[in-house]
Symmetry: C2
Subunit: 477 residues, 2 copies
C-alpha cells in the first residue's frame, strides 16, 4: 500500500517518497524551501525538548536574536565571510525603499552575537555567557533535499563566551557529548564523536567536532557540530573583558548546532521498506490503538474499551493515538501507522473485549514475530516495557549495522574498495591536498578523527608515513 | 539605584529605560530590530508554554512554514496586499545572483498557508486543519519601540480551515477566549474582548476580534487578535473540498496571533517606579533567595541553609534563584531583583538561621507592609500560597485601575475630556468617516465593540442617532 521504492533499489527515491508520504514535510513554493508538517514538527518538538533539557541542566539559557545582519558584519572575520558568502540571501529593499546597507538573512549568528557580546561583556564577572537560540537560518544551497539540505532550515545554535581557553575547550567538548547522548539514548543512533579535519572545519573555527552516524545506505551523516572559535570572533568583534588584575583580555568563544537534519538521520538509520521506524523516546505517537469493528453493535462494544485503554496509557505519560476513522479498513490503518513509524500498535476487536486482551504489535519487528496477545490488565506497564525494549533493540540493531560495515583496510587498494560501501578507519598523516586526492579518487572524505583512538602509531593509508592518529573515512551526505 | 524616571513624569522614558535595565531586551544593530535577552526570552517561553498547552488542548498542532513568500502570492488577496505592501522587506539576491522573482520575508503567513492548504485539502474528511506556527515575522515600521513595535517580532500565528462558516466563527471566538484566559489568569491583566471596527480590521478579514487592556498610562493596548477570514483567502488561493454530496466547496478560514507585544503589556500594566512587577505564573524566577553574610564564618552558616531551602522550593516546582554573588551588598541585590520584578524574595542571615526563620518579602507590596518573618518549616507551602495571593492581588489591582479610569460620558464634550486619560464606553452608530473625525479631534479610536453589551439601544455619542451597540474608545499603542 505504501508504494515505497525498496531501499535496496533506490535509497534516494525511497527517502524522498517516504518523507512526503509519512506526512513529515512538504515542499515550499520557493525553490529549496520546506514546510514541516505537524507530524514532522511534533518529532522536532520532541527533539527540541530532549536537547533543551540538557542545555538548561548545563547552565544555558535561550534568547532571541534578529534574523537580519548588516552586510558589513559578515566581512569582519575573513574565513567566515569566505565560507558563507556564496550562500547568502540578501534583503535590499524594505518599507518601499532601497536600503543604505543591504541586510543578510542570517546563515548562522556568530557575527551578530559578536556585536552583542562586545557590548554586554565588561568584566570577568560577566563571564561566561551561555546562550542558545532556537531559530531558522538561510543558506542558498543548489542541490536541496527535505530535512537534509534546504535553503531555510530549523536548528539551535549555541553561542558562549569564556574567560579562558580551557573553559572554551571544555564547553566545546561538553556540547558534543550532549549531542552524542541525545543521538544514542533518545534517537537510538550510534554515533562516532570526533574532530573534523582542517578542510571540513566551520568557517572561522580553530577546531570543529562532530558526531557522525551511518545511514541505511552506509553513507555517513554529520548529525551535530561543536566549534571552538578560539579568539577569532572575539578579535573581529572586540569582545573584551577586564580580568582580576584589571587587564583587558579577549574572550574565548564557542558555537554549536544541531538541526532538522537530525530528522533525516532518524529516517535513514531506522527506516525500512514499510516506512519510518521512530524511536519511542522521540516518536510523536508512541502507540496507536486501532479499534476493530464491522457494525454499530461491535462498535459500541469496542470503542469504550479503546477509549478506556487510551486514558490509562496517557495517564502514565505514554503518547497514545486512537485511530477512530470509520471510512478506513483496519488493514489500511495498520499499514498507514507502519508507514508513519509508530513504535507499537494495539488492536482491539470484539473477541479481544470478550477475552479482556488486546493484540500488541511492535513496529521494529514486522509480521507475526512482533505481535503478541496480552491482557488488558496492566497494559500501561506492558506497553512501557515494550517501548523500552524497542528503544534498546533499535540502538542495538543500528550499532550492529554500523560495526558490520566499518572496516580497517590494510592498504589503499582495499581502502578504495571498502569505502564504496561503508566506513573505513585508517591511520592518517596526509595533508589537505592528500585528503582532496583521496576524495577525488574515492568520493570519501575524512568524517572525523574519532575521539576513541587505539593509541600508539601506525602507517598512513595514503602517504605510507608514520601516523599518530586514525581517521574515519566515508562517503557522506 | 534603579535610576528609573518616575512613571508619572515620563511614562515613555520609564518604559524604554526599564526594558533595558531589567535585562529583558536590547537594541539590534539594524534599525528597529530587537535582541530578546535570556531574562526576557524566559518570560516569553513561559507565555509560549501557557498558550501552547491551551492550543493543544483544543486540538491544534504546531508546524513550520518557510519565511520566504513569492512576491506574487501577496498580490492575490486585494485587501491583504494593500494593507501590508508598505511594510515589506524584500530579498532580491541570493546565492550571488539576482532572483527571477523577489521574495518577501513574511509579514504574516496567510498567503503561504493558502498555497499549502489548497494542496492538502481535497475532501471534507481533511477538515478541519488546525495548525499553529511559533516564529518571527517582519514588518518595516518607522517608529519602533522594544516589544511594542519592532521590525522583526516573535509571535504565534494560528491558521485554520473549516468546512462551514459556523465552525470558522466558533474557532475565531474560541481563540479569542483563550487569549483572554491567558491574559486574565496567567498575566493578571484584565482585558476587554470584543470586535474591531471595520477601520481596524486585519487586511483581508471579515471580522477581527481583539483583547484590549489598559496600560499604566491609561492608554489601550491590543494584546491579541483573532480573525474570521471568511472565504476570502480560500477564494484567492483556491482552497476547496468535496463535500458529502460530492460537490466542490470553498473552505472557511481563520487566523489568530499573539506576539512579544504581550510582554510590553505585562510591563506597562504592572510595573512601578521601582521596576517590573511580574505575575508569578509567568515570572522567570518566582522567588529569589538572598543570603546575607559579612564574613566567611557567617557565609558557612548561611549558604547551606540557602541551598537547602532552594532545593525544597524547586522540589515543589517553584522557580527559585539563589543570588550567591559575593561582590554585591544585599541592599543592592534587593533593588536589583525588585527592578527585575521577581514576585517574592527570601532573605536569610545568621540570625534567621539561629531562629529557623526567613524574611519573606512580596514585590507587589513594597516596604515593611509586604515583609514578614516566617518559619523555615513548611516554607514551600508558605511561598506557594504567597505566590497565589500575589497573583490574585495583581489582577485585582489592575482591574480596579482599569475600572477607575473607564468612563461613560453623556455627551461628546465630556467624551473629549475623558478619553484624554482613560477609556470611554459610548453608544456608537457612526461610519468610518465619523470614526476618523473622532480620531482627528481626540486621538482616540474604537478599540473594540465589547462582547459584553448592555442590550437595548442608546444615542450615538457623535452622530446623535439611535445606536444598537456600545464601543470602547481610547488612545492606543
Amino acid at each position: 500500500m505504501a508504494n515505497l521504492t525498496p531501499r535496496a533499489e533506490d535509497f534516494n527515491d525511497w527517502y524522498n517518497t517516504l518523507v512526503v508520504k509519512a506526512d513529515l514535510a512538504d515542499y515550499g513554493p520557493v525553490r529549496g524551501t520546506m514546510i514541516v508538517k505537524p507530524y514532522g514538527w511534533t518529532l522536532w518538538e520532541n527533539i527540541q525538548s530532549a536537547l533543551d533539557r540538557r542545555f538548561k541542566a548545563t547552565g544555558h539559557l535561550n534568547a532571541g536574536f534578529p534574523m537580519f545582519i548588516p552586510e558589513s558584519f559578515m566581512k569582519r572575520e575573513a574565513k567566515h565571510v569566505e565560507g558563507f558568502s556564496p550562500e547568502l540571501a540578501v534583503v535590499t529593499h524594505a518599507g518601499g525603499e532601497e536600503l543604505d546597507e543591504p541586510l543578510i538573512v542570517r546563515p548562522t549568528s556568530e557575527t551578530i552575537i559578536g556585536y552583542a557580546y562586545s557590548k554586554w561583556v565588561q568584566s570577568y564577572r560577566d563571564l561566561p555567557i551561555l546562550i542558545n537560540l532556537w531559530n531558522s537560518v538561510v543558506r542558498w544551497e543548489l542541490r536541496t533535499k527535505l530535512f537534509l539540505r534546504t535553503t531555510e532550515f530549523y536548528w539551535q545554535e549555541g553561542h558562549t563566551a569564556h574567560a579562558t581557553a580551557e573553559e572554551a575547550d571544555f564547553e566545546t567538548k561538553q556540547m558534543l557529548d550532549i549531542y552524542a547522548d541525545l543521538a544514542t539514548n533518545d534517537a537510538a543512533i550510534p554515533v562516532i564523536p570526533g574532530e573534523k579535519s582542517e578542510l571540513e572545519r566551520f568557517a572561522g573555527a580553530n577546531q570543529t567536532y562532530s558526531i557522525e552516524a551511518m545511514m541505511g545506505d552506509r553513507r555517513a551523516l554529520q548529525a551535530g557540530t561543536s566549534h571552538n572559535l578560539g579568539q577569532n570572533f572575539a578579535k573581529a568583534f572586540d569582545i573584551k573583558y577586564l580580568d582580576r588584575n584589571n587587564e583587558q583580555q579577549y574572550c574565548w568563544t564557542t558555537s554549536w548546532g544541531l538541526s532538522t537534519r537530525f530528522i533525516g538521520a532518524i529516517i535513514m538509520v531506522h527506516g525500512d521498506d514499510q516506512g519510518l521506524v521512530l524511536p519511542p523516546r522521540l516518536a510523536p505517537h508512541q502507540t496507536v490503538i486501532v479499534p476493530i469493528f464491522k457494525d454499530d453493535e461491535e462498535k459500541s462494544t469496542v470503542m469504550p474499551v479503546a477509549r478506556r485503554l487510551g486514558k490509562e496509557l496517557s495517564g502514565v505519560g505514554i503518547r497514545v493515538k486512537i485511530d477512530g476513522r470509520e471510512h478506513l479498513r483496519p488493514g489500511f490503518k495498520f499499514n498507514d501507522w507502519e508507514l508513519r513509524g509508530v513504535p507499537s500498535r494495539i488492536e482491539v476487536g470484539p473477541r479481544d473485549v470478550a477475552k479482556n486482551s488486546v493484540a500488541l504489535a511492535r513496529r521494529d519487528m514486522p509480521g507475526r514475530e512482533g505481535k503478541q496477545f496480552v491482557s488488558q490488565d496492566g497494559l500501561p506497564t506492558t506497553v512501557s516495557q515494550l517501548l523500552e525494549e524497542i528503544q534498546s533493540a533499535m540502538l542495538e540493531k543500528a550499532g550492529r549495522f554500523q560495526e558490520g560495515h566499518t572496516h580497517e583496510p590494510s592498504d589503499y587498494e582495499e581502502f578504495k574498495d571498502v569505502v564504496k560501501n561503508g566506513f573505513a578507519r585508517v591511520w592518517w598523516d596526509g595533508d589537505n591536498e592528500d585528503e582532496l586526492r583521496v576524495k577525488e579518487q574515492t568520493k570519501a572524505t575524512i568524517r572525523c578523527f574519532p575521539n576513541e583512538q587505539p593509541g600508539g602509531v601506525g602507517q598512513c593509508i595514503f602517504t605510507g608515513r608514520e601516523a599518530k592518529r586514525m581517521a574515519l573515512f566515508s562517503r557522506a551526505y
